[in-house]
């Protein structure tokens, strides 16, 4: 949407879990390149489902999803996904976990299907970049520890490092901060926020937290329980430059929308 080139085009999408009421029916959405979109809604509204659909991990029953003009039929190598928890291998150290993406790419080679065809680089370079991200996220000193020895915040940083080291152009996040304490949350929100405009990274954050949505989203998609047909997108107030009054107005509006029964 807006003037930017389209990163994602969702066109009349319909999806239902085996025989149940559809989560989406004839649902359309556009996300511009480099944009930050927050997706908010009550639990069970289909916001995680939408993310998995955009990740290519689930296939719609009808309709189409295009990413950079290409129809999405399987996970794209340049889409990164960060989940709330359980994303790390419990038997591997933090560094090995952060390297997993690079390992999988080397495992297949640049085949365009599991790893990007263009811009293939040496394994050493890629592994060095992983350590660079571990350092930027302040967890390099824990690199040899196992996930169970680390805090949730440190684990989530490792998951972020693993994903960003693959240099994605689309970052999908499913409540990545919801289990974290407030300072860690705003810290990571800041890192993800800054990872944006300069590299043209498109970011989609699924959350149930109104403040998070308001702070993160340049646009905010509101989903409802039951079947989603309409696309309700509000303009967000991210960054430090927006005024407090506009923010609290937006908060109140979102609160009203979320409390309304479908």
């Amino acid at each position: 949407m807006s003037g930017a080139a389209a990163m994602i085009r969702v066109d009349r999408l319909t999806f239902a879990y085996g025989g149940r009421v559809p989560v989406f029916e004839g649902f359309s959405l556009g996300v511009g390149r480099g944009e930050a979109l927050a997706v908010i809604g009550p639990s069970g509204c289909g916001k995680s489902t939408l993310l998995y659909l955009l990740a290519g991990l689930r296939q719609p029953q009808s309709g189409e999803i295009r990413v950079l003009g290409q129809p999405l039929v399987r996970p794209r190598p340049r889409t990164g996904l960060i989940l709330q928890d359980h994303g790390l291998l419990p038997w591997a150290t933090l560094r090995d976990n952060a390297r997993l993406g690079v390992r999988i790419r080397t495992f297949y080679g640049p085949d365009g299907r599991h790893a990007p065809r263009e811009g293939a680089e040496s394994r050493t370079e890629a592994l060095a970049r992983v350590d660079g991200w571990l350092e930027r996220l302040g967890i390099l000193e824990y690199a040899d520890q196992y996930p169970s020895q680390l805090s949730r915040g440190q684990r989530q940083r490792a998951a972020i490092a693993r994903t960003l080291a693959l240099e994605p152009d689309l970052l999908l996040m499913d409540e990545p901060f919801s289990a974290l304490d407030a300072p860690t949350r705003s810290d990571l929100l800041d890192i993800i926020g800054r990872a944006g405009p300069a590299d043209g990274l498109t970011r989609i954050l699924v959350t149930h937290d109104i403040d998070e949505a308001v702070l993160f989203g340049e646009e905010i998609l509101v989903l409802t329980r039951g079947t989603n047909r309409e696309t309700l997108v509000l303009e967000g107030q991210p960054g430090g430059d927006s005024d407090a009054e506009a923010r609290s107005a937006l908060r109140a509006r979102l609160l009203g929308l979320l409390e309304k029964k479908p």
Binding site: W91, G101, F107
Partner: protein, 252 residues
């Protein structure tokens, strides 16, 4: 057992074992229980020859059975663990078959397949098969769906998922199951080797020594069979310790 064993404590255990054995031999004072002082020299004299061949035959059968059981049970366990619908369908069947002592099928297998090496290996493999099947299924079912999704999102297809998730997730449990079931496997091996074979420790202990009253030689066979069990147990245990460091066990 969660601790690894130091060479010193292993030696101490061995010493205690031999002292108790020798003590029992002095107390019983019967040809059927010679002490280690008599048996150990016989063991080392026979090992490079005949006894060694029997040992290798037995070890080969156990290894073949382990390989066969793992090759069949591990993939099946993965499928069941990742496909709850199929699992629910066959779980009652597995629950019924799992506790049946598989040795009771010995006559059936012998009649159907003949008393061959294949039938012996098959019977041992049957025992290990169910142990592996159940643990691999449970480990695979215990993997968080989020973990699989996030690894798939890194670009992993079926092969990379197997290499980076399923294999490391299930291997420690496979080794534990093998370690626990290797005792039963060797017990069954002992029984199967008593009929229609010319090599194997079971045959050596029962036919070549016990039945002709060569008790010290019989004990050298028993020692060899114990060694076989011990070797399997500790090799598997070493691998397990290595693979489960993240649990904070042993060598941390």
């Amino acid at each position: 057992m969660t601790k690894s064993i130091s060479p010193l404590s292993a030696l101490a255990g061995l010493a205690m074992f031999f002292v108790l054995w020798q003590g029992a031999a002095w107390l019983v004072k019967n040809a059927i229980l010679p002490g280690p002082v008599t048996v150990v020299p016989v063991f080392f004299r026979l090992l490079p020859g005949e006894l060694g061949l029997h040992f290798l035959a037995s070890a080969g059968r156990v290894l073949a059975a382990v390989a066969l059981a793992v090759a069949l049970a591990a993939p099946l366990g993965l499928i069941l663990g990742q496909a709850p619908r199929i699992d629910r369908l066959v779980a009652p069947l597995i629950a019924i078959l799992y506790p049946i002592p598989k040795i009771v099928f010995l006559p059936v297998i012998y009649v159907l397949m003949g008393i061959t090496d294949v039938s012996k290996v098959l019977l041992i493999a049957l025992i290990i098969f169910f142990q592996i099947l159940v643990v691999v299924r449970d480990e695979a079912a215990g993997l968080h769906p989020e973990l699989i999704l996030s690894v798939r999102s890194l670009g992993a297809g079926r092969r990379a998922l197997f290499r980076y998730v399923y294999l490391p997730a299930t291997l420690p449990a496979v080794l534990t199951a093998l370690r626990v079931s290797v005792g039963t496997a060797i017990a069954v091996l002992f029984i199967t080797e008593q009929s229609l074979t010319h090599y194997g420790l079971g045959y050596y202990i029962v036919v070549e020594t016990y039945q002709v009253l060569l008790y010290p030689q019989m004990y050298s066979g028993i020692l060899a069979m114990s060694l076989l069990g011990l070797a399997f147990y500790f090799v598997l245990f070493r691998f397990e310790v290595r693979l489960t460091r993240h649990l904070g066990r042993a060598e941390g």
